[in-house]
């Protein structure tokens, strides 16, 4: 009780340095752990969402305010009507609510917001289905039937191979050749890209979710599925000569002409795998003979330019899912969420700071 409490100043340095050093080490350790978690330090090969978007940005010129991939497109809207088969597979409200409003976006692959529509090998459909229970279901689908890379590392290698060589201004063909040599899945994708015929419209193209998801029904049963939007409009091929002659905004103009005559419809079809079919690898297509179920019909009624349309400020993150739908463990699907979020933040920041006149004005840019 009466023992004198020495003030810190009077302590011999040796006794007071140890706790101070310990406190310093704890603070430093905490800061280092935080920096490591944030991806600021650690092994140089570690890939972050920011790094992936940086890589995508490096493949082309800057286009402030536009999506970093699938940059050119139009907004669309309509509704979705589920079927009884859909309700049996999933408790998602989209299958039970009549005529759910849908906001969407039709686009072409690539990072050039002024690219020629008909020249694009890949076409895409993104949807946001907002049900009356306040839930959302966002989808990102493409015209390719399977993905071109089996793993995240392969996907990154493919993206890096598209970065132009500073000497030539074009991607180094040796890098793409090395990527193709390493991955048979990539060669299969290339064979599809070279041989599959292109249609003459966004409206008669099929769009595939590619990744596996789970439908969960009211009984709690989990069914793996891959979904596609199959056009009701008949396929009409557009050959290479026609594509070369088409105007830059051919697909958008053609879509407007079709919409002027009535809604455009797609059947939403899910494919159910057999035991042994790949669930976590989007580069492995499932055999054609697998059971297929039509779970709904999508009707698109209107289109608007994306610069002023309601889809511009929407991130079509395919992992925004309602109850009744869940993601698989597909690592490329998981990566989309982070990469899309980073791309979304960057372009919204450019729009907010007024640096994106081309992305927010309907005026035709050069």
């Amino acid at each position: 009780m009466t023992s004198q409490i020495p003030t810190p100043d009077r302590r011999p340095p040796r006794r007071s340095l140890l706790p101070l050093a310990a406190i310093g080490l704890i603070a430093l350790g905490g800061a280092a752990a935080f920096a490591w978690a944030a991806g600021w330090m650690g092994s140089s090969g570690r890939l972050t969402s920011q790094g992936f978007v940086d890589t995508i940005e490096a493949t082309g010129a800057d286009h402030p305010g536009f999506r970093r991939a699938h940059s050119k497109g139009v907004c669309v809207s309509g509704n979705f009507q589920g079927t009884a088969d859909g309700r049996a597979l999933s408790s998602a409200r989209a299958f039970s609510q009549p005529a759910v409003p849908v906001l969407g976006r039709m686009s072409i692959g690539g990072g050039d917001p002024h690219g020629a529509d008909a020249a694009a090998r890949v076409r895409s459909m993104a949807l946001l289905i907002r049900t009356d229970d306040g839930q959302q279901w966002r989808m990102a689908m493409n015209s390719f039937p399977f993905f071109g890379a089996p793993t995240l590392e392969a996907f990154l290698e493919q993206t890096r191979a598209g970065i132009p060589d500073p000497a030539t201004g074009k991607p180094d063909p040796a890098k793409m050749a090395a990527f193709l040599a390493r991955y048979p899945q990539a060669r299969r994708f290339q064979a599809w890209a070279k041989s599959a015929p292109l249609s003459d419209s966004w409206a008669n193209t099929a769009y595939n979710g590619v990744h596996t998801f789970y439908f969960i029904n009211a009984a709690g049963e989990r069914q793996p599925v891959r979904w596609s939007m199959r056009p009701q409009a008949p396929f009409v091929e557009m050959d290479k000569a026609q594509r070369e002659q088409a105007s830059a905004d051919y697909l958008a103009e053609e879509l407007d002409r079709r919409l002027a005559t009535g809604p455009l419809r797609w059947d939403m079809v899910v494919t159910l795998p057999d035991a042994g079919d790949a669930l976590d690898d989007p580069s492995q297509p499932w055999p054609e003979a697998r059971r297929q179920v039509t779970v709904g019909t999508l009707s698109l009624e209107q289109a608007q330019p994306q610069a002023t349309g309601p889809c511009r400020d929407v991130n079509f993150d395919p992992l925004i899912l309602p109850t009744g739908v869940a993601a698989s463990d597909d690592p490329i699907l998981a990566a989309r969420s982070g990469v899309y979020a980073q791309s979304f933040f960057r372009r919204e920041r450019e729009i907010a700071s007024g640096k994106a006149a081309g992305a927010t004005s309907d005026e035709v840019s050069p």
Binding site: M1, I23, F52, Q136, G338, E348, I351, S353
Partner: protein, 184 residues
């Protein structure tokens, strides 16, 4: 000089302090990890939203408790600058633990994302869908997270300085209740 019997924080304050310490540190690490990670984001964001709202509710309760219960005074012999730093850092911590969840909630509203808690339970939008608001709040959420982490580290270092160097009972006043230990 006899060591003055020290007051302690009340039980609610201590329970809130230590449970929120765990939650806030978890959130800071979940937050920076999910923004960077290509694999963990979907899982971590499902944790981030409900924990953030839990912190907001706990912070409101804590603010109420703090305003109705005077905390133990700082030691009289603590240099004035350290007293000022202690008070300022505490109010920064309160401001951030209340504003970070609100900024996160507002940022999700402005982005058009659904604000999912768990299962089908979600919160209403508190702001309109707007790229300007989203960009502002998303930027602020990230920067203020760094400020919060830095303040937490400072707070931790100061607490350990009281515990190990000054040994003035400040750490004990939050670490435990007033057991019969004033002779120590």
């Amino acid at each position: 000089m006899n060591p003055r019997p020290r007051e302690h924080f009340n039980l609610l304050a201590r329970v809130l302090h230590w449970s929120m310490a765990v939650l806030i540190l978890t959130m800071l690490f979940v937050g920076v990890t999910m923004v960077a990670s290509l694999t963990l984001r979907p899982m971590l964001i499902e944790l981030h939203r409900p924990i953030g709202i839990a912190i907001l509710l706990l912070a409101l309760l804590r603010l109420g408790n703090r305003l109705t219960h005077r905390p133990p005074p700082l030691p009289a012999d603590l240099p004035a600058i350290q007293k000022t730093a202690a008070r300022a850092s505490h109010w920064v911590l309160y401001a951030l633990m209340l504003s970070m969840p609100l900024i996160g909630w507002g940022m999700l509203s402005a982005s058009g994302y659904p604000i999912v808690m768990f299962g089908g339970v979600h919160l209403p939008d508190i702001l309109p869908h707007s790229p300007t608001l989203f960009a502002l709040l998303r930027g602020a959420h990230g920067l203020l997270a760094y400020l919060l982490f830095a303040t937490v580290l400072l707070h931790l270092s100061a607490a350990l300085y009281h515990a190990w160097v000054r040994r003035d009972g400040v750490f004990a006043s939050m670490a435990r209740g007033p057991v019969h230990d004033e002779s120590r």
